[in-house]
């Protein structure tokens, strides 16, 4: 029980997200009166947590990269890789859920919105990270060089997603220019929606961690087999 309580929590939270997310009454003003969101607003509980999960997972990956550089233990490197990998998967899911949503509310799946660009850049960065890893056969060197790139890229990526939305107009809530759906800022979530949203974030994040631990077990067993 001590070991797997958070997995049960993840399942419970996600079941809650799916049930409450589809049943909770939407605020009439933001969903119908002031915007063209309508019932698609419920995507908020699925699209936005993908980004929280992605950011959370790549941050864990960063921590393991730093730990590897401080103390070169090969396990840390495997951890950093796998968390980055799951983070990338969640990034792709965020992009897809966002594109579907944008197709209905903004009229096109892709509209060069700064946050869409930021998401695409994140994918490019982490794909480059995997390319860099695979370009080196030597395990120790691979771990160190990839770790350095992971840290470097993370600390440039975070300022980037803070700068980008301020440079160009955004359709996302909170951006300049209110062509899109101005109603959906962080503060326009009413208390009821917030009660669904934050548990959803936690649930998806835990699911991401769970997927990663499964992959980690496989990877570590493989490593052991190879070393024997």
């Amino acid at each position: 029980m001590r070991q797997y309580w958070w997995k049960i929590l993840s399942i419970v939270l996600l079941i809650y997200t799916f049930i409450a997310g589809f049943l909770v009454p939407l605020p009439y003003e933001t969903a119908y009166l002031n915007s063209n969101l309508y019932e698609s607003m419920r995507n908020f509980f699925f699209h936005v947590p993908m980004w929280f999960a992605q950011l959370g997972l790549i941050t864990i990956s960063l921590v393991y990269s730093i730990m590897y550089l401080r103390k070169p233990n090969p396990t840390y490197d495997i951890y950093a890789t796998e968390f980055a990998r799951t983070g990338t998967v969640f990034g792709v899911l965020g992009l897809i859920t966002g594109a579907i949503w944008a197709n209905y509310t903004w009229g096109a799946a892709w509209s060069n919105d700064p946050k869409q660009i930021g998401a695409a850049i994140a994918l490019l960065i982490y794909v480059a990270y995997f390319v860099l890893r695979n370009s080196m056969p030597d395990l120790d060197k691979r771990a160190r060089v990839a770790g350095v790139y992971n840290i470097f890229a993370y600390f440039i990526y975070i300022p980037m997603i803070l700068i980008l939305p301020r440079l160009t107009e955004s359709l996302h809530p909170g951006g300049q220019g209110s062509e899109g759906n101005p109603g959906m800022g962080g503060n326009s979530l009413d208390a009821k929606l917030r009660l669904v949203f934050w548990p959803a974030v936690l649930g998806w994040l835990l699911l991401g961690a769970w997927i990663t631990t499964l992959r980690l077990r496989v990877r570590i067993i493989e490593e052991k087999k190879h070393s024997v």
Binding site: V131, S135, M136, R144
Partner: protein, 216 residues
């Protein structure tokens, strides 16, 4: 400080004696811009600006890539023991920034010559070009170190670098747009400060991370 100066002097001397990198890149700049001129003629200012910074990006990849790839493994070890990793990366960053500023000014002259002169405020644009060349070279110097460590060439540098350079390029485009008209853009100082802050961040990351990269 003495170490850094000595290492920069060494790079300069190599440059003067071999006369390969510098003229190679100048030729690269000239032929790229000439091809661009044949293809585009004299474009309007927005296109001019976009093309200018894109060309800077490619020049930077090519100019900076050589700085680490030319050093052999044994010589690296020698520098590492004599001067230390921090001095080494700082000297490379400074040298590449200088090289890139010269290259940017050369390509600006060629742009003026061949692609026309839509600039209303050339003095300001020269300032932006120096700052921009500096910012691009800092990021790519560190990525060149990573690519050299992975024993890969400029291709890997481009893959690693292009996603990371986007904020700088966007800031530079936004900034240099103000040199094409007499309007004063609000928040120009803020953008410049943001760019300088990014540069400082890159230098700090390079100094902290480089020793780990070269430890064997």
């Amino acid at each position: 400080m003495n170490h850094i100066l000595a290492l920069i002097k060494k790079d300069l001397l190599l440059e003067i004696r071999q006369q390969y990198t510098f003229y190679g890149i100048v030729l690269y700049v000239a032929s790229t811009i000439f091809v661009l001129y044949l293809a585009m003629g004299q474009p309007e200012e927005k296109v001019w600006n976009g093309l200018f910074w894109m060309i800077q990006l490619f020049i930077c990849v090519n100019a900076v890539a050589k700085s680490f790839l030319q050093e052999s493994q044994g010589r690296m070890l020698y520098f590492y023991t004599v001067a230390g990793a921090r001095d080494f990366i700082l000297s490379k960053l400074l040298f590449n920034a200088g090289l890139m500023i010269i290259m940017s000014i050369v390509s600006l002259l060629l742009f003026q010559l061949l692609l026309g002169n839509p600039l209303h405020n050339p003095v300001r644009f020269i300032g932006f070009v120096c700052l921009g060349g500096c910012s691009l070279s800092l990021v790519f110097s560190f990525l060149a170190a990573i690519a050299a460590r992975a024993r890969q060439g400029a291709a890997l540098m481009a893959i690693l670098g292009f996603p990371l350079i986007i904020p700088q390029v966007l800031l530079l485009m936004k900034m240099s747009n103000t040199a094409f008209a007499d309007v004063i853009q609000a928040g120009l100082v803020q953008i410049i400060l943001l760019l300088v802050a990014l540069d400082v961040l890159v230098i700090a990351l390079a100094v902290i991370l480089f020793p780990f990269l070269w430890k064997d």
